[in-house]
C-alpha cells in the first residue's frame, strides 16, 4: 500500500475531489428514474423551491422528484456512508481485511428483531425499524460479553464470537420464516437482501446516529493508525487502547445497526468501499474514514439509480446491484495496485 505523508493540503484536495464525485452522483440519482423528467425542469424546480418562485414541473413530476427520488437518495447517502465508515473502522480495529459491518453479528441481530416484529406482532414499518435496532444493540452487547477475556476483548475472540452469534441468529431467522405466510415472506426476503424503497420516516434519527458515530470514529482515526501497528506498540506510544477499541466498536456497531434497521442488509458496500479507498488514497485512517463516507454514499446513490432504472418500471434489489458492480470494480483496483 502506498505510504504518502498526509498533509492538510492533501486531505483537503482528496476530500474536495470526492465531494465533487458525490455531487455528480446525487445529480444522476435525481435525474434518472423509471419516468423521464426533464433535467432542466428539475434544476429549475429546485431553484424555485429555494426562491419560492413558481415551479415549471407538473404536479406529477414534482411529486416524483421531491417525494420519491429525493427521500430515497437521502436514505441511500446515509446508508452508504454509514456502512463504508463502519467497514473502514472494523477493518482497522480488528486488523482483518475481511472485517465488514456485519461480521460481529449486527446484521443478524437486526434481522432477527425485524423478522420477529413482522412475524409475531405483524408490526408496521416504524415498529420494525425500532425492533431491528434493539435487536442489533442486544447482539452487540452479547458478542462483546462472549468475546471479552481477561485482557479486554482480543480481536480474534470478538470475530469468533460474532461468527458464532451470526450463525445462531440466521438459523433463528430461517425458523421464523418457516412460520410465515407467503405474503409476509416477500417483505422479509427483500429486507434480507437490502432495499431502499421503504419508508423514509426514520431518516432523521438514523442520519443523526450516523453523524455522531462517524464523528467518533473519525476522532479516533489517529489512534486507529497506531493500533494497526499492533496493540502493544500502540500502548507504548501512549494510545488508550482499551478506550479506543470500545469507542470504535460501539460507534461502528451503532451506525451499522441504524442502517440495517432502515434498509435491510445491503452487502458488499462496507467490505469493499474502504478497501477501494485505501488502494487509491493510502491507509491513513484520517483520510480513509471521511473518504469512505463520501465514496460509499456516492456508490450507493448510483447503485440505487441502477436498481430503479435497469428494468424499469420493475425494481431490482439494491443488494444485488452493489455486489454485481462492486465485485468487478474491486477486482480491477486490486489488480491495478500490484
Amino acid at each position: 500500500m502506498r505510504q504518502v505523508r498526509l498533509t492538510p493540503r492533501r486531505l483537503a484536495v482528496a476530500l474536495a475531489t470526492l465531494a465533487v464525485v458525490l455531487a455528480v452522483a446525487c445529480g444522476v440519482a435525481l435525474a434518472f428514474g423509471s419516468e423521464r423528467v426533464p433535467l432542466g425542469g428539475i434544476v429549475a424546480a429546485m431553484w424555485a423551491r429555494v426562491t419560492g418562485g413558481p415551479s415549471p414541473l407538473s404536479a406529477e413530476h414534482t411529486a416524483i422528484v421531491f417525494d420519491v427520488r429525493l427521500p430515497r437518495l437521502a436514505l441511500a447517502l446515509v446508508v452508504g456512508a454509514s456502512l463504508s465508515v463502519a467497514g473502514s473502522a472494523f477493518q482497522a480495529l480488528l486488523r482483518n481485511p475481511l472485517a465488514e459491518p456485519y461480521i460481529l453479528g449486527v446484521s443478524g441481530g437486526a434481522a432477527l428483531g425485524a423478522v420477529l416484529s413482522a412475524v409475531v406482532f405483524a408490526a408496521a414499518a416504524t415498529g420494525r425499524t425500532m425492533s431491528a435496532f434493539v435487536g442489533a444493540l442486544a447482539t452487540i452487547a452479547v458478542v462483546y460479553a462472549i468475546g471479552e477475556g481477561r485482557e479486554g476483548a482480543p480481536t480474534e475472540r470478538l470475530i469468533l464470537a460474532g461468527v458464532i452469534v451470526n450463525a445462531f441468529l440466521s438459523s433463528a431467522i430461517i425458523f421464523l420464516m418457516t412460520l410465515t405466510s407467503e405474503s409476509g415472506l416477500r417483505g422479509i426476503y427483500s429486507w434480507l437482501i437490502g432495499d431502499l424503497s421503504g419508508s423514509s420516516e426514520a431518516l432523521w434519527p438514523i442520519a443523526l446516529i450516523a453523524l455522531v458515530g462517524a464523528t467518533a470514529i473519525f476522532l479516533c482515526a489517529r489512534s486507529l493508525n497506531l493500533l494497526m501497528l499492533g496493540e502493544r506498540d500502540a500502548r507504548a506510544l501512549g494510545v488508550q487502547t482499551r478506550a479506543v477499541k470500545v469507542i470504535v466498536y460501539v460507534a461502528a456497531s451503532m451506525i451499522t445497526a441504524a442502517s440495517v434497521a432502515v434498509s435491510g442488509m445491503i452487502g458488499f458496500v462496507g467490505l469493499v468501499i474502504p478497501h477501494a479507498v485505501r488502494l487509491v488514497v493510502g491507509s491513513d485512517n484520517r483520510l480513509v474514514v471521511p473518504a469512505s463516507a463520501l465514496v460509499g454514499a456516492a456508490f450507493l446513490a448510483l447503485g440505487d439509480t441502477l436498481s430503479r432504472t435497469l428494468f424499469a418500471p420493475r425494481e431490482i434489489h439494491i443488494g444485488v446491484v452493489t455486489a454485481l458492480i462492486g465485485a468487478p470494480v474491486f477486482v480491477y483496483l486490486l489488480r491495478r495496485s500490484w
Binding site: G33, S34, E35, A59, E60, T62, A63, I64, D67, V68, R69, P71, A118, V119, A122, A124, A125, R128, T178, T180, S181, S183, G184, L185, R186, G187, I188, S190, W191, D195, S197, G198, S199, E201, R308, A312, P313, R314, E315, I316, H317
Partner: protein
C-alpha cells in the same frame, strides 16, 4: 476396541437394521386403495389416475381446493387439510398435515387417503410424484384465469364423485360472472393499481387471478403489461400512470402494512387524492376458489357503483 466387541457391535447393528426394516414394512400403507370399484380420472396435468368411485377419505393440500370441496358438498369426507386452509370455518375441524409448502408425507400416508388433491400453485411436484408412486391416488389441479377455476371445480367434482353438484356450482358462478360482465360492459374502464405488498411496493403483473378480476370488473390495471406475476414496482411509475383507484387486498400483513395500506410515496395520485381506495379480503382476490366471484362482485361495485343501483 477388541475384535470380539467389534463383532458384537456389528451383530447388534445388523439386528437393529433388520428390526427397523421390518417395522417400516409393517407400517407401510396398502399399495392400492381398498375400494373395489375404481375409475380413471384425468387431472389438469393430463395424468390418468385410478380413483375410487366415491372417495371417502380425501386430503386437500391447498386452501382453494378445501373451499371447493366444501362448496360442492364433499366437505364431510375430508380427513385432512393444510394449516393455511382457513375457510370455511368447518375446515378447522379437519386434521392438519402441515402447510401448503411442507406437507407431512408420513402423516398423509398414515391417514390412508383414497384421494389426495394438490394444486400446482403450491409447487409440490415432488410430493405428488412420491404419493403417486406409493399408490395413493393423487389428482393435480392447476387453474389459469377465472374461467379456469370453473373448469377446475368441475374436474374436482368428477374426481370426488360429486360431478352433478360441481357442474351446478360452476354454472351458478358463471351466471354471476356474466351478470357482472354485462353490468360493466361499455362503461369506461378506470385505471387501477393493486397494492399486493407495500414495503417494498409489490403489485400484480399479467396472468394472475387479481389481474383477471380487475379486467372482468371493468377496470384497467396500470400494470397489466408486466410479464412477471408479482413484480416489485416503481413508485414514480405509479405516479406517472395516475391510477383512479387502488385495490388493497387486506391480507397484506407482516412487513407490508402501514395504517392506510397505501405508502406515502404514491400519495400524489388521483386515487389517493379522491380517497378511492378499495379494500377487499385478499382471499377473495387471490385464492382460486368459488369465493373469487364474491371478490369480483365487490370489486365491480366499487369501480362502477352506478352500474349496480
Amino acid at each position: 476396541m477388541s475384535t470380539h466387541s467389534f463383532r458384537r457391535l456389528f451383530h447388534f447393528l445388523l439386528c437393529a437394521a433388520c428390526a427397523l426394516t421390518l417395522a417400516c414394512a409393517q407400517s407401510a400403507p396398502p399399495a392400492a386403495p381398498a375400494t373395489s370399484a375404481t375409475r380413471e380420472v384425468v387431472d389438469d396435468l393430463g395424468r390418468h389416475v385410478q380413483v375410487a368411485a366415491r372417495p371417502e377419505r380425501i386430503v386437500s393440500l391447498a386452501p382453494n381446493i378445501t373451499e371447493i370441496l366444501f362448496a360442492i358438498g364433499a366437505g364431510d369426507r375430508i380427513v385432512a387439510t393444510t394449516s393455511f386452509c382457513t375457510f370455511p370455518p368447518e375446515a378447522a375441524n379437519t386434521t392438519k398435515i402441515g402447510d401448503t409448502q411442507r406437507p407431512d408425507v408420513e402423516r398423509i400416508l398414515a391417514l390412508k387417503p383414497d384421494l389426495v388433491l394438490v394444486s400446482t400453485a403450491s409447487q409440490l411436484e415432488s410430493i405428488s410424484e412420491r404419493l403417486g408412486a406409493l399408490g395413493v391416488p393423487t389428482v393435480v389441479t392447476t387453474a389459469k384465469g377465472v374461467d379456469g377455476v370453473l373448469t377446475s371445480i368441475e374436474r374436482i367434482g368428477v374426481a370426488t364423485g360429486d360431478a352433478q353438484a360441481a357442474t351446478a356450482l360452476a354454472a351458478k358462478l358463471r351466471e354471476r360472472i356474466e351478470a357482472v360482465r354485462s353490468a360493466v360492459a361499455g362503461k369506461p374502464a378506470p385505471k387501477v393499481f393493486a397494492i399486493v405488498g407495500n414495503e417494498p411496493l409489490f403489485t400484480t403483473g399479467k396472468g394472475t387471478f387479481l389481474d383477471d378480476l380487475i379486467r372482468l370488473a371493468g377496470g384497467a390495471s396500470i400494470t397489466a403489461d408486466e410479464t412477471n406475476e408479482w413484480p416489485q414496482y416503481s413508485a414514480e411509475a405509479v405516479i406517472a400512470r395516475a391510477p383512479d383507484f387502488m385495490v388493497v387486498p387486506s391480507v397484506t400483513h407482516g412487513f407490508a402494512a402501514t395504517d392506510s395500506g397505501v405508502p406515502a410515496s404514491i400519495a400524489a395520485t388521483p386515487a389517493v387524492r379522491n380517497n378511492r381506495i378499495i379494500r377487499i379480503d385478499g382471499d377473495l382476490l387471490m385464492r382460486p376458489g368459488p369465493r373469487l366471484v364474491d371478490g369480483l362482485e365487490q370489486l365491480a361495485r366499487a369501480l362502477h357503483p352506478e352500474a349496480f343501483r
